[in-house]
């Protein structure tokens, strides 16, 4: 029963994911028509305006077909990774994204690691010291973090650690693993602070909840060492909702990276999106938006599946019934 349930669950999620992607892709495609100015002018870019180029553009982008037909052709190409060519640089969109993706992934994962490594212990600590100054301080830090947009935090960090004391470089992405870590620390911390609040809040709530459970009281009554009660009994169970939220947070960090990349002048996918949006480079905007959305939705799917494996109650409970 259980594997069948699992397969059904994943299948249903994948269908939902595909529907969502289809809706998003339609929205992304219509961007071309939403943008002010005629479609030919947008796609022409800096090429000279002659009847011949206009005709060539109409041919190349199938503008003589109906709207839905155009969408269908575009979608078919997009599925094969072909989003057309950038208007700004005239290189294929996919190449432009590929050359920038590594840096963004690096930054996102680095920030994610910081969020998890600091957020979870801080949240647990706040729960253990409930209603004390420590608790209020940690929760307050979280509130400030979520209230501070990543670019504001970024500028404060730049001022403190690159201008006042030059511990970290003010710009550049570094080369090689350690150099890159050194260069990306400030951006990653700025990004991490915005996601930290959610992790702290969740861990704190989950930990308070699991410390209240009967099995914790019972374990204490039996004289099991306090550390073992906290770690093995309370903490492990408190982790379930945190793991569930992990995907959400990773997605949040990936979109927040846009602001951080612009603040620190890092040439990542987010900065590429902002440059393309400012330049009205619609094919590039379409490609980046669709890929980022797909990545975020995929992460959400993976988290849902992960949730099944983390919480045995979900795995066995429903499967057995």
């Amino acid at each position: 029963m259980s594997p069948r349930f699992l397969a059904l669950f994943i299948a249903r999620r994948i269908v939902a994911l595909l529907v969502l992607l289809l809706i998003i892709s339609f929205g992304v495609f219509t961007l071309l028509y939403l943008a002010p100015g005629s479609v030919e002018d947008i796609l022409r870019g800096t090429r000279p305006q002659t009847p011949e180029t206009t005709q060539a553009i109409r041919e190349q982008y199938h503008l003589n077909d109906s709207f839905l037909m155009q969408y269908w052709i575009w979608l078919k190409d997009a599925i094969h990774g072909d989003f057309g060519s950038s208007i700004r640089t005239s290189e294929p969109v996919i190449d432009g994204i590929e050359s920038r993706a590594a840096l963004s992934a690096y930054l996102g994962l680095y920030a994610f690691a910081i969020v998890m490594l600091f957020g979870v212990p801080l949240g647990a600590l706040a729960a253990l010291r409930k209603r004390t100054t420590v608790d209020r301080g940690i929760v307050g830090l979280g509130v400030v973090g979520v209230s501070a947009p990543a670019f504001a935090t970024g500028i404060f960090l730049l001022y403190l650690f690159a201008v006042r004391v030059s511990w970290f470089p003010a710009y550049g992405q570094g080369s090689g693993f350690w150099d890159r870590i050194w260069h990306l620390t400030l951006p990653a911390v700025a990004l991490a602070l915005t996601g930290m609040a959610l992790v702290i809040k969740l861990t704190r709530a989950a930990m308070i909840n699991s410390l209240d459970q009967d099995y914790v009281v019972f374990a204490r009554a039996r004289g099991i060492p306090a550390r073992r009660v906290l770690v093995t009994y309370a903490f492990r169970n408190a982790l379930v909702p945190v793991v569930t939220a992990a995907g959400l947070i990773l997605g949040y960090l990936l979109t927040g990276a846009v602001l951080v990349e612009v603040t620190f002048a890092l040439p990542g996918v987010g900065a590429l999106l902002v440059e393309s949006v400012t330049f009205k480079d619609v094919p590039m905007v379409q490609g980046v938006t669709l890929l980022v959305a797909a990545v975020i939705i995929l992460i959400n799917l993976l988290t849902d599946v992960l949730y099944l494996f983390v919480d045995p109650r979900v795995r066995f409970g429903r499967g057995a019934s």
């Binding site: 501070a148 670019f151 602001l259 902002v274």
Partner: protein, 285 residues
């Protein structure tokens, strides 16, 4: 509606002290509101007046926060910048409240096909990364402050809808709703006059949180050059334009940045505080 015997208990138990922090938050919000309304009168200099003879200076007794590279007074610009930081988020919070309450009440009360249609829309909007959508749509449409505001209303409304729907579902099962229905009141009247007042406290608390969220997102759009026009005294825009001055006059970038953080944090704390108080009171009922 409220059993009389429970009232005193609920009152005495929830007579919580207002912490100093919350008082501080209210003061911050009041000051920002005064800046937003009377900013032009308070500001010591014209925020847009360029003085190239003065140029870029550090904080001094004449220019409290120094001047930017065009010789504009940073202090005056920060005060006047409160206006775009407050007007947009208020419109967004109220707009989202209006849409969210209407849809949430209908979805929660009517149920059935109406409910699932509205909730599918809400689910869709939740699955979309909001900031990304805002950047792409505002950017491709050509940018602008009120365009950003309108889009953020649409992106924020689902949060309100979900909260109001949940609360309405809870209320719908209560005897007073059934009584009102037995009396033959129209569903519109039951929703607006009977259920909505009971849902309102949560909505108000959530509106503060929405305000903070919209303030941060709007300033992010302005920071990216998609919100207000160039040169406007707006906190996000000022940050972007003064970022390169970090070595020469850090105050030009840090002052607007600090204002965004303090204002948003105050609104978040007030919202959390209200939420805690009001949802507890709801439970005591």
């Amino acid at each position: 509606m409220i059993p009389a015997a429970e009232l005193p208990v609920a009152r005495t138990r929830r007579r919580a002290r207002v912490s100093i922090l919350i008082v501080f938050c209210f003061i911050v919000v009041a000051v920002v509101a005064v800046f937003a309304i009377f900013g032009n009168l308070i500001a010591p200099y014209d925020p847009n007046e360029q003085n190239l003879l003065v140029g870029l200076t550090r904080p001094s007794s004449t220019y409290w926060l120094g001047t930017d590279d065009l010789g504009r007074d940073v202090f005056s610009r920060t005060i006047v910048g409160a206006r775009t930081a407050v007007v947009g988020p208020i419109l967004i919070a109220l707009g989202a409240m209006l849409i969210g309450n209407t849809l949430g009440l209908i979805a929660g009360y009517k149920g059935g096909l109406v409910d699932s249609t509205i909730m599918r829309w809400v689910d869709l909007m939740w699955a979309l990364p909001g900031l990304l959508v805002a950047i792409v749509v505002v950017g491709v449409l050509g940018g602008g402050y009120y365009l950003s505001v309108a889009l953020l209303i649409l992106l924020t409304a689902p949060y309100d809808t979900r909260i109001v729907r949940g609360a309405t579902l809870e209320q719908r099962a209560l005897p007073y709703v059934e009584a009102a229905r037995t009396l033959g009141l129209s569903s519109k009247r039951i929703m607006v006059r009977h259920i909505w007042p009971n849902v309102l406290p949560l909505v108000v608390a959530n509106t503060f949180l929405n305000f903070a969220f919209s303030l941060v997102t709007l300033s992010a759009l302005s920071f990216l050059g998609l919100g207000v026009g160039p040169g406007t005294p707006d906190w996000g825009r000022m940050l972007a334009e003064s970022q390169t001055l970090l070595f020469d006059n850090p105050a030009a970038a840090l002052a607007p940045g600090g204002m965004i953080v303090i204002t948003a944090a105050s609104m978040n704390l007030i919202g959390d505080w209200l939420y805690e108080r009001l949802s507890d009171r709801g439970r005591a009922r």
